[in-house]
Amino acid sequence: MNANLQSRRIIASIASVLCFYSANTSAVSPLDVVLDEEARRVEMIERISPSVVCVFDARRRGGGSGVLIDEHGYGLTNYHVVAGLLATRKGWGGLGDGVLYELEVLGIDVTGDVAMFRLIPPKKGYKFPFSRLGDSDSVSVGDPAIAMGNPFILSEDYLPSVTLGLITGTNRYQWGVKGNLAYTNCIQVDAPINPGNSGGPLFNTSGEVIGINGRISVNTRGRFNVGFGYAISSNQIKRFMPALRAGLLGRHGSWQATVEKTPDGIVFARLKEPGPAFDAGIRRGDRLTAIDNVPIETSNQVASLLGTYPEHWPILLDVERDGRARRVMVRLDPVQPNMKRPFEAERDANVRQVRRVLETYRRASRSDETTAVPTRWKWAVRRAFRAASDGTTQPAQQYEANWIKGERVRMRQRHEDGTSGRLVEYDDVSAEQRTSPTAEAFELPIQDRMASHALFRLRRWLVGDSDTVEVTELILAGGDAVWAPTMWSGGTAIEPRAAKDVTPHYVEIVKAQLGAHATARFGFDIESGLAVSVHVSDDLSGFSIDMTLSDHRDVGGVRWPTTIVVRGDGTGYRDTSSDWELAP
């Protein structure tokens, strides 16, 4: 008896200690775990349901569902939910607060059945409830999932219906109708999804949106759920978001090639010449082993993965020929969706996005808001050249740069012995190279001037007065992926094919006219807001360059890229800057 008592005490103390350490799971009783889990779920549903939208047409009749993804009222739904609203772009969105807000349709993705809308804030500065997009690639079969929306238009007060189920399949491929409304690499779920649920969110147990519900399998019994619902993956939608937000037609991409299954694996069958895959050096019979690091096993999988990329998107392909593996980057051709009447991009929506992107860029680039905007910068640059095709490399060069706002930038070459070398000077406003009477001035190659001009523009957006920002001349052209910062490592150029296990940065592209005949596409990182890439093409000379901006460092209250890689026709170098001095 005594021994028993003692042991009971021991157990009690051990149990309390252990349970202290695992307090967040309180795992002693399975019932407690279940009750905790249920309480957590109820709490989470209360938290996320205000972001779910009941979408109605202009006459406030039955429509579908949607979900808000930011506080400004931007939300996602299915294209087929808003297809009927495109003539006026106007509809209504009801939220769980019981209020019906005006809804404006922005960009659409007809091929992928996604559309973006905006609820009009009732007053300036109004903040809508919203949910975040999660990582749909982290979803696995058997995970619980929650679907929300307005099935059968049940909700009178716009509080969404909630259904709970399991993820019952991932990477599913559901055919489209005449090329439209294809659900590629989508999520299959058995949470009941019914007519009216279309466009509504599928949540994971953390309350993140992992997909947009829009499709079900039905048989002879009628159009209602039989346990097979499909959601467009959030990771696919993320790639189209910049275009959709900016009121554009989100077109999908094609590599203009077909593959077939053979005993050796998946091989390329037919390639369009010229076409993205062909131009990247892929030929009939080449074996495809991976797309964006996803190993390829079936041709169904290829179709499924390719359906998730927007036009011009760069994808990394691992291919094999005669046992030799190589990696190529392919930019996809646009695919025009089947539409009765052409879609007209929304200019106002676009201007709003340009303003937002530039504002985010300014805020992200000002590490210290209290310091005055600098008007003079001095820095040193080390320029390392990429090896030419014959293997030779130019020796590195050193420059000293000096910028005075509104006046000029002057770059002077410094030799290793400390003596000055050549000098080049640009006008800060026009970015034109100044002809200098001095003999030491020199003419730069056109690619260098294009690169400098692009950097001028970025600097002006950053430190210029806001009224000089010419947003109305700019266009938000969609999204892109940038791998490039990893292409250079330790001063050596690495081809993209060698970069393994790389995840690209997603950027939003702002298109701007540079001078009279050049166009630049500035890429702003969606997560950080910083400028990370620029593509410049000059119509007159036909030259184009790709710049990647990385290693953003804090230099006197400003975050500026200290590594700039320029690649283009006949050029390739990397500028590393240091010794920054900024003066107000």
Binding site: I14, G142, T168, R172, S217
Partner: protein, 363 residues
């Protein structure tokens, strides 16, 4: 914590057990509740492709039950195909032969043909890939109580291709009941017990899906699609493990056919004869050449048909909205008649067409 427990199991193991529970619980709670069931069911499910007739889908599901490549599925037109193709979870394509059929339970046993596997070069005949495939042990009587979770894994709607994982449906085991509780309402010969599931499992391609409990133990198989003639609703059920096991045992003991098995039976989908046609008092003429037209020979006195006005020499053209061209079609429609609902006849009498409604007694 009771004394008797402590004494019985001893203190140390209990403390250790608690330690383990507390330490591993973060992982346990992170892992999905269905992981074990999925890990068991997915590799044992086989996607089947075969004959397609009318609304019958050309695809279905089976599951492995032996290390010899035996696969159980439902007996349907699918396996009447000249060539049945079976894709195992690893994506290997086999051809399959029908070993046995059970007409009453509507089950079929197939055997994968290793020689016809698509990824084999056929050079090394010693390789027996089938033996490495996981299978369900049908002899294990896994516990299953009403209220327990269950998971059905299969090829419904053909959502998966090749090595892509099959689909799953999850639900709660509701009850064990007899299908014949609603006799006459369904054209299904099996009258034994079935497992009722609260998930929608009656879908194209789903019959033959393996049903497992949360531990991943086999508890049943999604049966053929059964539709109520009364409400046109589908019935979501599974054939219990012991029925599947009994069929497989018998089929393997007597190759060529199990109990009631008819190996080449093309009529396996026909109405079972033990459901008698509804008798309204009509006797049809049994005279005819090639085809017995449903002419009324006589109508029993004081029968519902007589009271409703059916007469000798009437030609019955339709029953309950279905054309009947001969006596057997008439009988089939009378089997489908629902007790308590009137039987609507369209009759040709002389040059006139008339409609007669015969009331029936509820069951």
């Amino acid at each position: 914590m009771r004394h008797s427990q402590l004494r019985r199991y001893g203190v140390v193991p209990l403390v250790l057990a608690m330690l383990v529970v507390c330490v591993v619980s973060p992982e346990v709670s992170r892992a999905g509740a269905f992981d074990q069931a999925l890990a068991s069911a997915m590799p044992r499910v086989v996607k089947l492709y075969g004959r397609r007739v009318g609304k019958q889908a050309g695809y279905g599901t089976g599951f492995l039950v032996s290390n010899q490549g035996h696969v159980v599925t439902v007996s349907s037109v699918l396996i009447d195909a000249r060539r049945i193709r079976a894709v195992t979870a690893d994506g290997t394509l086999y051809e399959a032969d029908v070993v046995a059929r059970d007409r009453r339970r509507q089950l079929a046993l197939l055997k994968l043909n290793p020689a016809a596997a698509n990824n084999e070069t056929n050079e090394s005949s010693d390789t027996e890939p089938i033996e490495h495939l996981p299978f369900f042990d049908l002899t294990i009587d896994a516990p299953l109580e009403p209220g327990d979770w269950m998971l059905a894994a299969g090829n419904a709607f053909k959502v998966a291709d090749g090595a892509e994982p099959a689909t799953v449906a999850h639900g709660i085991f509701s009850a064990r009941t007899r299908l014949d509780a609603r006799r006459r309402l369904k054209d299904f010969p099996y009258q034994g017990e079935v497992l009722v599931i609260d998930a929608i499992t009656s879908n194209p391609g789903a019959p033959g899906s393996a049903v497992v409990n949360l531990d991943g133990a086999f508890v049943g198989m999604i049966g053929r699609v059964v539709v109520s003639n009364l409400t046109h609703t589908h019935f979501n059920y599974a054939m219990p493990r012991e029925e599947v096991a009994a069929f497989v045992d018998a089929a393997l003991a007597a190759p060529g056919g199990g109990p009631g098995g008819d190996r080449y039976g093309a009529d396996s989908l026909a109405m079972d004869a033990d459901v008698e046609p509804f008798d309204t008092g009509i006797r049809l003429s049994k005279i005819g050449y090639q085809k017995l037209l449903p002419f009324v020979e006589r109508v029993r006195i004081a029968s519902p048909a007589r009271n409703a006005g059916v007469r000798k020499d009437d030609l019955i053209m339709a029953v309950n909205g279905r054309n009947v061209g001969d006596v057997s079609q008439f009988d089939n429609q009378m089997r489908r008649a629902i007790p308590g609902k009137p039987i609507e006849l369209v009759i040709r009498r002389g040059h006139g067409i008339l409609t007669i409604s015969i009331p029936t007694e509820p069951l």
